[in-house]
């Protein structure tokens, strides 16, 4: 039987404009072994913000049963979350969903990780696992502006890393594709998470290759029961679908319609 659980905040830190790194600790962390999975987080016991928020697992430290989430305080819920102190207990459902297929990249191969904004976090845990299994990691991280950049150094430790900003205030100017082109990056396996337009571009470019993208959608239950997060298939009957919360959030490029 699955369980929902309370984790305890052990650290909460602002790491970029409106962006926070939240470290939670507890039993449940033991189950968090797959990058790309997410936690469905209840902001608190107040019922005005009723729904849980899906947040990706950004890093796990099994030695101290700690999981790291990185989130942008953009709306009511994440803003309220950013005000929580160390010691606060957080109601967490998860780990949920199917994460990145780490095993697709074999030892000695090159994995290209492409993250956009708040899509960067899950790639960090992924990068760690890939490196651990002997895969060479190249990371392209796209942000809006200099003040939004986070975790660049942490990625650099794991592999060659390019940072782009839309306004050119830091790193290369433009979108992630600009960096891919300029640096002439190729890969055996591509993993990506970020805004839909970015994923669409990557899909166009790399459909048919070993490429995996992580999607976002507004969710209700997070466990497959409410049909909030459904997306149609690229080929398939009109009523066929995948649920992002349980079949995803990671899909091979070309499987679901973006």
């Amino acid at each position: 039987m699955r369980k929902q659980c309370e984790l305890t905040i052990v650290s909460q830190q602002k790491i970029a404009k409106d962006s926070y790194e939240l470290i939670l600790s507890g039993e449940l962390v033991r189950q968090m072994t797959t990058p790309g999975q997410f936690l469905h987080v209840r902001i608190d016991g107040a019922n005005d913000l009723l729904l849980r928020r899906p947040l990706s697992i950004a890093h796990v430290d099994q030695s101290c049963q700690e999981v790291t989430l990185i989130y942008r305080a953009s709306g009511d819920g994440t803003r309220r979350l950013s005000g929580k102190f160390i010691g606060t207990r957080v109601d967490v459902l998860g780990p949920l969903g199917r994460g990145f297929p780490v095993e697709e990249a074999k030892q000695g191969e090159t994995a290209l990780l492409v993250g956009g904004g708040i899509g960067v976090p899950p790639l960090y845990y992924l990068a760690q696992q890939l490196v651990a299994q002997g895969v060479r990691v190249h990371a392209v991280l796209g942000f809006a502006s200099e003040e939004d950049v986070f975790y660049e150094e942490k990625f650099r430790v794991l592999g060659e890393t390019w940072v782009t900003t839309v306004d050119g205030s830091y790193g290369m100017k433009g979108f992630v594709t600009a960096a891919i082109d300029e640096a002439g990056l190729d890969f055996d396996v591509l993993y990506s998470c970020g805004p839909t337009p970015m994923l669409q571009t990557l899909t166009e470019r790399y459909v048919g290759r070993r490429a995996f993208i992580s999607l976002e959608e507004r969710m209700g239950c997070g466990i497959g029961a409410c049909f909030a997060c459904v997306c149609p298939l690229v080929s398939g009957e009109a009523h066929e679908y995948r649920k992002i919360c349980t079949d995803g959030p990671v899909f091979p490029v070309g499987e679901v319609l973006l």
Partner: protein
């Protein structure tokens, strides 16, 4: 489970008065991974239409203060999908199932009702009359007493099990709706369905839901549900399954006092997947606290 929670409604021998609400529990599979579904009083399955439906585009849900909007659009695997893929999972289960049926025409309802009510595992039907009636320009079946009564009669005629009519709260006069379907032969009522609502994203200036409008559910709507059940229970003699924002044992008791004979929990399943078993477990202690021996003593208790 203790005897003091048992309630009996047409077609439904319930161990306790608590069931998940239709559309908020899928076909039981997912929550079955969290707890043994047999602890539930009953289960209302997701709405079923004759053919498989994809439903609306996403986004399909939006949060509102103490509530949420949904516009799933009746996504479901169709009659065959339900019969061959969903119901078999309940073969070894004892929990009574309520099939929620939907359609775009009277004929569609009849088709689903006839077929699902024949299934051994189905104990009752719940007639979702909030669906748009394509023959009447998309106005919901549930907003006109005559249309709703006609539909009820047709469904009753083909159903092998008792029929509960699920009322829409988006009406001027809930009492006439209830009376109309009771006279048309409904065995019970389920109320309330969602209130129609909307949210606009102030940055994109677009509705958050792809479908523009959606159904408002959750604790925000509870006072409307309580009021309507209180009004209706005074004038009908068929039992009411109450729902709308239930989250605590106190809410359960409030619905029973208003006149419901059993309750359904919808939205709050998404907040807490264990909510139904939690309510069932804590109900006896709550009864003790208010000096009630059997849960049925509460039904309509505010009317006496």
């Amino acid at each position: 489970m203790s005897e003091r929670l048992r309630v009996t409604l047409p077609g439904l021998e319930m161990k306790n008065p608590i069931m998940p609400a239709s559309g908020c529990f899928g076909f039981g599979k997912e929550y079955g991974e969290f707890y043994d579904l047999n602890v539930l009083g009953a289960i209302a399955l997701k709405a079923t239409t004759p053919e498989p439906r994809f439903g609306n585009e996403t986004p399909r849900v939006a949060e509102t203060k103490a509530g949420m909007l949904n516009a799933i659009g009746l996504q479901n695997p169709g009659i065959e999908g339900v019969i061959y893929k969903e119901l078999p999972r309940f073969e070894d289960k004892t929990v009574p199932l309520v099939a929620n049926i939907a359609g775009a025409t009277v004929d569609e309802y009849i088709e689903v009702a006839a077929q699902l009510s024949k299934q051994e595992k189905i104990s009752a039907l719940e007639l979702n009359i909030s669906c748009p009636n394509v023959k009447q320009g998309g106005i919901a079946f549930g907003t006109d007493p005559l249309v709703a009564a006609e539909l009820t009669k047709e469904v009753k005629a083909v159903s092998a099990v008792p029929v509960y009519v699920k009322l829409s709260p988006n009406v001027t006069d809930i009492v006439s709706m209830a009376q109309a379907v009771e006279q048309a032969g409904a065995d019970g009522l389920a109320m309330i369905n969602t209130l129609q609502g909307m949210r606009i994203d102030t940055r994109t200036r677009k509705p958050i839901l792809a479908n523009q409008y959606g159904g408002l559910s959750g604790p925000a709507i509870k006072p409307v549900a309580i009021r309507m059940i209180h009004q209706v229970s005074q004038v009908v003699s068929i039992p009411i399954i109450g729902m709308g924002g239930i989250q605590t044992v106190d809410d359960v008791i409030e619905f029973l006092l208003a006149g419901a004979s059993a309750v359904a929990v919808g939205t709050v399943n998404f907040v807490d997947p264990y909510i139904c078993p939690k309510l069932i477990e804590t109900l006896p202690a709550a009864l003790d606290e208010i000096g009630v021996r059997h849960v049925t003593e509460l039904i309509g208790g505010s009317l006496q």
